[in-house]
């Protein structure tokens, strides 16, 4: 179970002004601007739930994912993931979660994908039996077969994303965080990724929290949507709650963004 209660996070960003004189001044005195990435964010996600986390760019999605995966320490509030405080005991926490950053790669560029997997096996200290079992299952579900033997640099984006997903699940985590997993993928790959996430959730009761800009992802995957804007939770409900009539999901969301002025 994931609970966030009144979590706040703000950053200080140094102001930069143009011009030589300003630059000289900033050497001695810097002005900071505080940006509130999260303001009193609270939600609960139960085991086995699949939740879509949406909001415009800079709304605080990534900050939330980072806090939940133990990378970022919040200023205020309580965070509990399966009874653990993520940022307190990072190593114990991250053993039990899987994270995919859609815009980054965790695979080694120049060696076959399977080599990266073997390394992850040692990083997570996965026993040989469970490694084999998990790998077999993932290979089948994601149709990795041949891909495992090619270097990551030779894979297409869609193929690589399938490998990334497998890499994050080798240690069989109970919770999966996906940060824009379908970004830049073609239609076929998107379907494959969505399909896999759904299956994973059904088969293993894996809790999934995913951020995306692709509303079809949300429609296909999650029953529940959390909408965040300017650091605040604006809405937490089912897809039917926000959908009135036969509108297209993109229009619905756009309308929603507009109504909250985010």
């Amino acid at each position: 179970m994931i609970t966030m209660e009144n979590v706040s996070k703000s950053y200080k960003v140094a102001k930069r002004n143009a011009g030589f004189g300003e630059a000289w001044k900033s050497l001695f005195h810097r002005e900071y601007e505080t940006i509130h990435a999260l303001k009193n964010v609270s939600f609960t996600i139960n085991d086995g739930e699949m939740v879509g986390y949406i909001g415009p760019n800079g709304a605080g999605k990534s900050s939330t994912i980072k806090i939940l995966s133990g990378i970022l320490t919040p200023d205020d509030g309580t965070v509990l993931v399966d009874g653990r405080i993520p940022y307190k005991d990072r190593i114990r926490h991250v053993k039990e979660i899987g994270v995919v950053f859609g815009q980054k790669s965790q695979l080694w560029w120049d060696v076959p994908v399977i080599d990266s997997f073997e390394l992850l096996k040692d990083i997570y200290s996965i026993s040989p039996q469970s490694y084999k079992q998990n790998l077999d299952e993932l290979t089948e579900l994601l149709d990795l077969g041949e891909l495992l033997r090619s270097p990551a640099r030779q894979l297409s984006l869609g193929q690589r994303m399938r490998c990334e997903l497998a890499a994050s699940l080798l240690h069989n985590p109970r919770i999966l965080f996906l940060d824009e997993p379908t970004i830049g993928l073609d239609a076929v790959s998107k379907l494959a990724v969505r399909d896999f996430i759904r299956k994973r959730n059904q088969l293993h009761k894996t809790t999934v929290l995913l951020t995306t800009h692709d509303m079809q992802d949300i429609e296909a995957l999650s029953d529940r949507i959390i909408l965040i804007g300017k650091g605040e939770i604006l809405m937490d409900g089912t897809i039917d709650d926000i959908k009135k009539g036969g509108e297209n999901i993109d229009e619905t969301i756009a309308e929603l963004y507009r109504s909250f002025d985010v």
């Binding site: 990378i71 320490t73 053993k95 120049d110 080599d115 990083i123 297409s156 193929q159 088969l203």
Partner: protein, 322 residues
């Protein structure tokens, strides 16, 4: 000169492991739709075996050393994908240090000693110092290219893995091409050891060994500090080069050549002298104090403040989330 050759060289290098995924969208794969298969059978069996698997995964932890070896293995295989590039780089690294050696050689064609040190003694000093540097550089190269890890955000990926960050950062880049520099150090050893007039005995060999250990630790510590700075700023890190490449190049002469103030600096602030000047005087017989044999090991303590600073950096990264 003061800039790093390897920086210039590696910026565009081909074997970065974490890349922007948004490149290479041209190739399309069509094989994905085969995934859609009926999986509803044997769900129970899967569930059971997963429970087992999960239990098994936490039993014993892969040792750090084994994991590190695994990292080296994968790094070496990556490097070997580009063999021609590798050999050119090794050659290049060799020449970087070889030209410094040539400088020393030509200086001693003209002058016969400096501050009482002969050419052979200077070469011995240079060889040891360069060896210390290149071992540290090979091992701790991950720190040296850490700024790009912070810039591209791949440090986030380090943080979501259940392992010590230092181990993972070191593993991210093991630079085999530094063998070129090591080769240069070895050649100078081979030349200087029989000619430097040292009566080699067990104590002196031990001193030499301790110098290598202490020096590697010291430079690794400096690289770690360099990396820790990346948590706060990605600009202006160049000044750290004084302590890395600068030390490497100017450390060819024993530190006392640079005067008392530099010796003080190199003893108490950044303890280069502990792994260079003091034990060297013992090896070449200028000082008989047996304590000097063990002095280089003291430099290992430098890792404590380095690591503390690194931890401070990681903590600040986690609270600022740059």
């Amino acid at each position: 000169m003061p800039r790093k050759y390897h920086d210039i060289v590696d910026d565009g290098s081909t074997n970065t492991n974490a890349r922007d995924m948004s490149t290479n969208t041209v190739a399309r794969d069509t094989s994905t739709n085969t995934i859609v298969r009926d999986m509803s059978t044997n769900t129970l069996a899967q569930d059971m075996s997963n429970t087992l698997a999960r239990g098994g995964s936490t039993t014993k932890k892969t040792s750090a050393l084994r994991l590190w070896m695994r990292y080296i293995g994968i790094n070496v295989r990556c490097t070997m994908q580009y063999k021609m590039s590798f050999f050119m780089m090794v050659l290049g690294q060799f020449f970087v240090s070889f030209s410094v050696f040539l400088g020393v050689y030509f200086m001693f064609q003209r002058f016969h000693s400096v501050k009482g040190y002969t050419y052979q003694e200077v070469l011995l000093c240079f060889a040891i110092f360069l060896m210390e540097f290149s071992i540290a550089e090979m091992v701790a190269r991950g720190f040296d290219s850490f700024s790009s890890m912070v810039r591209t955000g791949s440090f986030d990926q380090v943080l979501v893995r259940p392992r010590n960050e230092v181990l993972q950062v070191l593993g991210s880049k093991f630079e085999l091409t530094r063998i070129g520099r090591m080769l240069q150090a070895l050649l100078m050893f081979v030349y200087a050891i029989p000619r430097c007039g040292v009566d080699w005995n067990f104590a002196k060999v031990l001193t030499l060994l301790f110098m290598l250990i202490g020096g590697t630790a010291l430079f690794s510590g400096i690289f770690m500090i360099y990396a820790a700075f990346c948590f706060f700023t990605l600009e202006g890190l160049e000044f750290m080069n004084v302590f890395t490449d600068g030390a490497r190049e100017h450390g060819k002469y024993p530190i006392d050549v640079y005067g008392k103030k530099m010796l003080f600096f190199g003893t108490f602030l950044v303890p280069y002298a502990l792994v260079q000047y003091y034990p060297l005087t013992y090896v070449i017989g200028k000082n008989d104090n047996p304590l000097l044999i063990f002095l280089p090991l003291l430099a290992i303590l430098f890792l404590i403040p380095s690591y503390a600073f690194w931890r401070f950096g990681v903590r600040s990264y986690c609270s600022s989330g740059s």
